[in-house]
């Protein structure tokens, strides 16, 4: 997103992601954390295990923007793919159905194979 008054046109959907921690194909787990405040990591995906589908770029942190701060330094945003059967106990659909969403790097950990998904 261009800042207010910014003059450089945004040509691409993507932005550079210098120093990104994860690569496409990496297995990751969403942090099983439940802090208060404005978060863009849906509650239902906390603790779930998935795979990096795409690197979107580094963007100002919405968790800071929400409170009037500039959200810098920017955080790397990834698209992560999850098997629906691993997200919802008793998912009513074939094993190959997936759900994908964007997760910021600070919400991700490498997947060590342990399921720590939240029990709601």
């Amino acid at each position: 997103m261009t800042p207010a008054g910014g003059t450089s046109p945004m040509r691409s959907s993507y932005a550079p992601a210098p120093g990104h921690r994860y690569a496409v194909g990496d297995r990751v787990r969403v942090k099983s954390a439940f802090p208060p405040g404005h978060r863009r990591t849906p509650w239902y995906i906390r603790g779930k295990r998935g795979v990096i589908e795409r690197i979107c770029g580094a963007f100002p942190n919405p968790e800071e923007l929400a409170y009037g701060f500039d959200g810098e330094p920017a955080k790397v945003l990834y698209r992560v793919r999850f098997a629906q059967k691993h997200v919802w106990p008793g998912y009513q659909g074939p094993d190959h159905d997936v759900i994908e969403m964007e997760i910021f790097e600070h919400w991700l950990e490498p997947d060590d194979g342990v399921d720590r998904s939240a029990k709601s």
């Binding site: 800042p3 207010a4 008054g5 509650w43 959200g71």
Partner: protein, 118 residues
């Protein structure tokens, strides 16, 4: 063990059981289009950030009971007050003035109705 999910905002509803979907698009009333446009002008000018609007919406006690544009209007109100762009007194006074306008009989063609014609 708590029954209530920890720090799950009212907006964070993915995965919750809910009823059938009304698949018809009911469109927008004129005031809703105008409210949307206002919000759009303000966020594009950097006066309020979309993230701030979302945060304000999420904090509304009435979130679950309000319709979409009622949420966005309430959220904008929270932010305008927070940022000191309007005061409570100004808002109350202006709202009272507008209520009086709508009480004007039809024959006198209220300015609001005139404004409402695109």
């Amino acid at each position: 063990m708590s029954d209530k999910p920890v720090n799950k905002g009212p907006h964070d509803m993915g995965g919750e059981a809910a009823g059938p979907i009304d698949t018809t698009d009911h469109g927008m009333l004129f005031w809703e289009k105008q409210a949307n446009a206002l919000r759009s002008v303000l966020s594009r000018a950097g006066i309020v950030k979309v993230d701030e609007l979302r945060r304000a919406a999420e904090g509304l006690e009435q979130y679950g009971k309000l319709a979409y544009f009622e949420v966005t209007t309430s959220a904008l109100r929270v932010l305008l007050l927070e940022k000191g762009l309007v005061t409570e007194a100004e808002l109350e006074a202006k709202m009272a003035e507008i209520r009086r306008r709508f009480d004007v009989p039809d024959e006198m063609e209220s300015p609001i109705k005139r404004k409402a014609k695109p």
